[in-house]
């Protein structure tokens, strides 16, 4: 029942059909259209799109907590990066003895640091099943511990935002250290293959793109299912009037914790799909500025709509690719300008613009839009 409910919403059906059609179209244009043709989508572009889609999944995860729970997390990049590192560790182990130093077990950077054995937390990452489990568990556990401490003592609003930012900042500093055993500054890179597929081949890249698209679709449905369920209704209640919800007898912190952990896991999956496509994971993903950029994607697309997050992520990242290619200096101006303009003039984002259409029925959106009530005060 709760799994079918999301499909009853028009926006879900529309979103899914557009997404799947786009996936099919890109696949077709990549495979069936010859390389010289103007309509051909190169493998490079496919990988780029795959990267955008993994960002979109991250944005959906952020929208789940920010849009429907009222928690502005400025540290979701940390969950994304942890998922990415879990995947990266698996990919590192897959290199085997083909590294520069040819050590059958130790990754190159450990040989370089004169380590003689794998640290305990690297054990098991040669098994894909374990690694993929860690993609979910590592961010999930961090979110569980962090969220448990934060929500239990009712840290909310701006305070929560700032300590999530401090969390990702601390992790960034930690991962920059060589002694941590995650490659320090350079991170993990030089990957060869994933589950036996060569990461450099066109087929694998297309496959990764499709996998990311499908993960986005599934993640979207999952979030929609949560939002549409009774749990989601309570979350929205927490967002709009936390104290009142608590007085009604709901254990607010449990709802918050659950949604927060689910969101962190989704972010981890996004990171895990991101890493094999860009071929590197380094502590830069932990930087506070990345996490706050993700929030901008959501704000631009439209908070508390889910599809708005996807639109925002795709748009901003496309703009970033274009800008940094044409005039790199202007990108930060554009990004900063967007932050200001969106928050001041477009508080409901692009999705808000869409719903301004007069012929649209107002009933659905009116109840799901966040208000600037008690929770944010």
């Amino acid at each position: 029942m709760w799994l079918t409910r999301p499909f009853s919403e028009r926006s879900t059906r529309l979103f899914l059909s557009v997404l799947l059609a786009a996936l099919a179209l890109v696949t077709l244009l990549n495979l069936a259209v010859p390389a010289g043709h103007p309509l051909h989508v190169s493998t490079y572009a496919v990988t780029l799109l795959g990267k955008y889609l993994s960002y979109a999944l991250l944005a959906v995860a952020v929208d789940l907590v920010w849009g429907y729970l009222g928690i502005l997390s400025l540290g979701h990049g940390a969950f994304f990066a942890l998922g990415g590192y879990a995947m990266g560790m698996y990919l590192m182990r897959q290199i085997g003895d083909r590294g520069t130093y040819g050590d059958p077990v130790l990754p190159d950077f450990m040989v370089f640091l004169d380590w003689d054995s794998l640290p305990w937390y690297w054990l098991g990452f040669d098994m894909p099943g374990f690694a993929f489990l860690m993609v979910l568990l590592a961010p999930g556990l961090l979110a569980l511990v962090f969220g448990f401490l934060a929500f239990r003592s009712r840290v909310t609003g701006v305070y929560l935002s700032i300590i999530t930012q401090a969390m990702t900042f601390a992790l960034m500093l930690a991962f920059f250290r060589n002694e941590m055993g995650f490659g320090g500054n350079n991170g993990l890179t030089d990957f060869r293959e994933l589950l036996g597929f060569d990461l450099r081949s066109d087929g694998t890249r297309l496959g990764l793109f499709l996998a990311t698209g499908i993960a986005l679709a599934l993640g979207y449905v999952l979030c929609r299912a949560i939002v549409a369920s009774k749990l989601g209704r309570v979350s929205v209640a927490c967002r709009d009037a936390e104290a009142r919800t608590r007085f009604l007898g709901y254990r607010v912190e449990r709802f918050q914790l659950f949604v927060f952990v689910v969101s962190a896991m989704l972010a981890g999956v996004a990171g895990a799909l991101y890493v094999p496509q860009v071929g590197i994971i380094n502590p830069g993903e932990f930087s506070p500025i990345f996490s706050i950029e993700v929030v901008l994607w959501v704000a631009l697309g439209g908070r508390a709509t889910l599809y708005g997050a996807v639109i925002g992520a795709l748009l901003v990242n496309y703009a970033k690719t274009v800008f940094t290619g044409v005039m790199p200096d202007a990108w930060l101006f554009a990004l900063g300008g967007m932050f200001v303009l969106v928050t001041v003039f477009l508080p409901r984002g692009i999705a808000g613009l869409l719903s301004l259409r007069p012929w649209r029925r107002a009933s659905h959106t009116a109840t799901t839009q966040p208000t600037t009530g008690e929770s944010t005060a």
Binding site: L72, S153, Y159, M167, F333, M338, P347, A377
Partner: protein
């Protein structure tokens, strides 16, 4: 007795400068005769010649002996002219005339004859040089020379040193020389020398005592060991004081960076993520002032204090009017918008000025350090910044507690509607408060320019720390910010030796995150009506 030869040589120099034609200088210069006497084959004669040179009190004798010691005093084979080799590499060596010390071009090494020395002469020279330095006119130079002698005294030097000690007027030089002598006596097994050395923090003294503590003479070893233990205790205290000082210094930087935020975030409740960039603007103002007033870094720095305040305050007002006023009551949106502003400001500096760091000169009266004792010296710039932070804090307290503006700010924060009903223009108060907080950020920038690199990322490095300090101290409480900033600085420095700089920072961050769980409203939570806001 020491003054007489110096007077004579001074007179001589005057004569040389005014009375004698330059061409005749070489022949009439008494130095020529002194150098001539060095050029003999007998080392005994050379030794006597060295004595004569020292006794002559000639102002150049130090350089001659130094050159002789380094094998750089040489004589031209054909002309018999004495030269000092500047650099003896390659075939042709640049040289200077040994009498006038003027550039004498290059000479082939084949044309030159070195005035050789042997080991006995070398020892004599080293001692003689040290004694010459000990006769320098400046007390500071004499202290330097005496300090350099610690651990380098041998039997040949002991006797002349005793004479010098008898004549020396400065107590500090005397103390150092006695220590130098005592090290020598210690090496010879004199247990009484330990008393002289007790309590000194000099590394040479400690290594001498260390060596003595392993000696076979039980009495000496025991005395040395107990003296060492004393010294170790003193060192511990020093290290503790030093850590405390560095901690307070770091803390003062944190306080400076956070105190403006304590006004805008703490008192007004506005999240200004561009706060770091306002600090950066203050630092750049200092740099700009120094560019405007080249050659007067001190004056520029003093002028930068009001200028930095104004620039940052104006920028703050622009941010408040341009962005924040539209986002009243939506703190999360304010956070995002001001973050955008911070990106724009950073990029603006990168594009307009440069992505590279700019150097801000430290004026002379701020460089150097204040030496408390041999093991502990406080760098002056940090001391100034610490003082500056306290002054700024006191000023802010005064404004908030004793002025009309402070009263109105507190009124508006506690109950905006009621304050307006009482006739306070809340919008004006908003602007002024924000200008005040931003201006203080500018002041922080001026101070920071003396401690760190001034670059576009300057602000970014402090924003998270600043928020941590404000949150840790308790929002809306200036005292809390002071205590939190200073204590976080000290904690950081205490952790650093055993955890490393990065790990210490991480530990502090984690500590604050956990602390917030326990006390969500900080060290000094607000009470009463203000807390409900």
């Amino acid at each position: 007795m020491r003054m007489l030869p110096r007077c004579l040589s001074g007179l001589l120099c005057l004569c040389l400068l005014f009375g004698l034609p330059l061409a005749a200088q070489a022949q009439d210069d008494p130095g020529q005769a002194l150098l001539d006497s060095l050029d003999t084959d007998s080392y005994a004669d050379k030794g006597e010649a060295v004595e004569t040179i020292i006794a002559s009190g000639d102002a150049r004798s130090r350089r001659w002996l130094e050159a002789l010691l380094g094998g750089k005093l040489q004589r031209h084979k054909d002309t018999g002219r004495f030269v000092v080799v500047v650099e003896n590499r390659g075939r042709h060596w640049p040289v200077v005339d040994a009498l006038s010390f003027e550039d004498a071009g290059e000479m082939s090494r084949r044309e030159l004859d070195r005035i050789g020395i042997n080991n006995a002469l070398r020892g004599q020279l080293q001692g003689a040089l040290a004694v010459i330095d000990l006769h320098a006119e400046q007390v500071g130079e004499r202290r330097e020379a005496a300090r350099a002698l610690l651990g380098d005294v041998d039997a040949s030097l002991a006797e002349p040193l005793r004479v010098v000690i008898g004549e020396e007027e400065d107590a500090e030089v005397r103390r150092l020389l006695e220590q130098a002598l005592a090290i020598h006596r210690l090496e010879e097994g004199d247990a009484a020398a330990v008393d002289v050395l007790a309590g000194s923090l000099n590394t040479r003294v400690r290594s001498a005592l260390n060596a003595a503590s392993r000696s076979e003479d039980a009495e000496l070893a025991a005395a040395a060991t107990s003296a060492l233990a004393d010294i170790e205790q003193k060192m511990m205290l020093n290290r503790g004081l030093e850590t405390l000082y560095f901690g307070l210094s770091l803390g003062s930087v944190l306080v400076l960076a956070a105190i403006g935020l304590a006004i805008t975030f703490g008192v007004m409740g506005v999240i200004n993520m561009a706060h770091g960039e306002l600090i950066m603007l203050g630092a750049y103002t200092t740099w700009a002032m120094q560019q405007l007033l080249p050659g007067q870094p001190g004056l520029a720095l003093l002028l930068a204090i009001p200028a930095g305040f104004l620039v940052a305050a104006l920028a703050g007002v622009a941010i408040e009017r341009g962005v924040i006023q539209f986002l009243k009551g939506r703190p999360l949106e304010t956070l995002l918008a001001t973050f955008g502003v911070s990106l724009i400001l950073q990029q603006l500096v990168r594009t307009v000025i440069s992505p590279q760091n700019r150097t801000v000169v430290t004026p002379e009266w701020m460089s150097g350090s204040l030496m408390l004792n041999e093991g502990l010296s406080l760098t002056l710039n940090r001391l100034y910044v610490l003082g500056f932070a306290l002054v700024v804090f006191a000023g802010l307290m005064l404004v908030m507690r004793r002025t009309r503006l402070g009263l109105e700010v507190r009124a508006v924060t506690q109950d905006r509607a009621m304050a307006r009903a009482m006739g306070i223009r809340a919008t004006r108060v908003d602007i002024l408060t924000f200008a005040l907080g931003s201006g203080v950020a500018g002041l922080a920038g001026v101070a920071l320019s003396q401690l760190t690199n001034v670059g576009p990322n300057l602000g970014q490095n402090y924003i998270i720390d600043s928020f941590m300090v404000v949150v840790f101290g308790g929002v809306g409480n200036l005292w809390g910010t002071l205590v939190a900033g200073l204590s976080l600085g000290v904690i950081n420095q205490v952790l650093e030796p055993w955890a490393g700089a990065v790990l210490a920072k991480i530990v502090v961050l984690v500590f604050i995150i956990l602390f917030i769980q326990k006390r969500p409203r900080g060290l000094f939570p607000q009470k009463g009506r203000a807390a409900e806001g």
